[in-house]
C-alpha cells in the first residue's frame, strides 16, 4: 500500500492563526519543544509572556488541531491553607463545568504549583476569545499573587 502523508493543512492553518494572533497582540513567545512525527513537525509547545505572566501554549497537529491549550501558573498553595483551599479549587472546577466552561484548576505534579488550563478554538472568529482568555489568565495569576483569588479579599 502506498504511503500517504498525513494531510495537516487545516492544522497548519490553525497554527498560522495562533502565531499571527500572538504577533498582532505583541505577545512574545519562545518555543520550548517541537515534537517531530514521521513526516512533519507535529506538536508545538511554546511559552509566551502576557503582562508578566508565563503562559504555556500547546498545539498538536495530530490531536484536536483546531484548538490550542493554554496553561498558566497561578502560584503556590499558601502554607496555612489546609484542605479547605484544595476543596475550593475542585468546587470551582465543578461550577465552571456546570456553566459549560472547560477551564480547569489543578496542581503541577512536579512542584504542586496551582495552575489553570483551558483549550481555545483557533478558527477565524475565535481570535478575541483567545486573546481575552490569555489576559484573563494573567489577571488570575496577579490576583493569586495578591492573595485575592478564591478568597474575595482585597477588592
Amino acid at each position: 500500500m502506498a504511503y500517504v502523508p498525513f494531510d495537516n493543512t487545516e492544522g497548519i492553518g490553525m497554527r498560522c492563526h495562533l502565531l499571527q494572533w500572538l504577533d498582532d497582540a505583541d505577545i512574545a513567545w519562545v518555543p520550548i519543544d517541537v515534537v517531530l512525527c514521521i513526516d512533519h513537525p507535529s506538536a508545538l509547545v511554546a511559552e509566551c509572556t502576557v503582562e508578566g505572566t508565563a503562559v504555556l501554549l500547546q498545539h498538536d497537529l495530530d490531536e484536536r488541531a483546531t484548538h490550542v491549550r493554554a496553561t498558566a501558573v497561578l502560584g503556590e498553595l499558601p502554607p496555612d491553607s489546609g484542605d479547605t483551599l484544595l476543596l475550593r479549587l475542585l468546587q470551582t472546577n465543578f461550577l465552571a463545568a456546570l456553566h459549560g466552561h472547560d477551564q480547569v484548576l489543578g496542581l503541577r505534579d512536579t512542584d504542586d504549583l496551582v495552575c489553570i488550563t483551558q483549550a481555545f478554538a483557533l478558527h477565524d472568529a475565535a481570535r478575541d476569545a483567545f486573546l481575552m482568555g490569555l489576559f484573563h489568565m494573567a489577571g488570575l495569576s496577579a490576583r493569586w499573587h495578591d492573595g485575592r483569588y478564591l478568597t474575595g479579599g482585597g477588592g
Binding site: 500547546q58 490531536e63 491549550r69 496553561t71 489546609g82 484542605d83 484544595l86 476543596l87 479549587l89 475542585l90 468546587q91 470551582t92 472546577n93 465543578f94 461550577l95 465552571a96 463545568a97 456546570l98 456553566h99 459549560g100 466552561h101 472547560d102 480547569v104 484548576l105 489543578g106 496542581l107 503541577r108 505534579d109 504542586d112 496551582v114 495552575c115 488550563t117 483549550a119 478554538a121 476569545a129
Partner: protein
C-alpha cells in the same frame, strides 16, 4: 429549511443518545425548552447532563458522581485529584466537587458544535469507568509518586 435552533439540536442529541443506551436505561428528554439539567441512571449511577444556553461557546457538560470526599487521607486525595486534573486536561475530562452535596464528580465538557450522540455516549461510558476506578481505589494510591526504595521489601516489617 432553517438551521436548527439550539433547543432542536439538543433535543435531537438527547433522542439519539437515548437510542444508544440499553433499553432499561431510559432517558426522558426535557419537557420544556431552555437551560436544562437532565438526570438519568446508567449502571446505577446518576449521570447529570447540563447545558447553559447563555454560555459562549455553548457547551454540554456530562457529570458522573464518584462519591463523597473521603475522610481518610483527605488532603492527599484532594491533591491527587488536582494533579490528575492537569495530567488529563487534554482529554477534556477533569474532577470537581459539588459545593452543595460535597460529592466528587468526574466532568467532561463538549462544545455543542462538536457533540455527536456517539461522542456523548462514549463520554458517559468513559466517566463511568473513572467512577469504577475510583470505587476500587478511592485514595488514588496508584497515582501516588513512587518513593525511593519502593518495590524493595520493607525489612522493618519482616521481623
Amino acid at each position: 429549511m432553517h438551521d436548527p435552533t439550539t433547543d432542536e439540536r439538543l433535543s435531537a442529541l438527547i433522542d439519539a443518545l437515548a437510542e444508544l443506551m440499553p433499553a432499561d436505561q431510559r432517558i426522558d428528554p426535557p419537557s420544556r425548552a431552555g437551560p436544562f439539567e437532565l438526570l438519568f441512571d446508567v449502571d446505577s449511577r446518576r449521570i447529570r447532563l447540563i447545558c447553559q444556553l447563555d454560555a459562549t461557546p455553548l457547551g454540554i457538560t456530562v457529570a458522573c458522581p464518584l462519591g463523597p470526599v473521603p475522610d481518610h487521607k483527605r488532603g492527599t486525595v484532594l491533591r491527587q485529584l488536582l494533579r490528575l486534573n492537569l495530567a488529563t486536561a487534554w482529554t477534556g475530562t477533569h474532577m470537581g466537587c459539588d459545593p452543595v452535596s460535597s460529592r466528587l464528580y468526574a466532568l467532561h465538557t463538549l462544545a455543542l458544535d462538536e457533540a455527536t450522540p456517539d461522542r456523548l455516549h462514549n463520554t458517559v461510558r468513559a466517566l463511568i469507568q473513572w467512577a469504577e476506578q475510583w470505587e476500587e481505589d478511592p485514595g488514588l494510591s496508584r497515582l501516588e509518586p513512587r518513593r525511593e526504595g519502593d518495590g524493595q521489601p520493607d525489612v522493618t516489617q519482616l521481623a
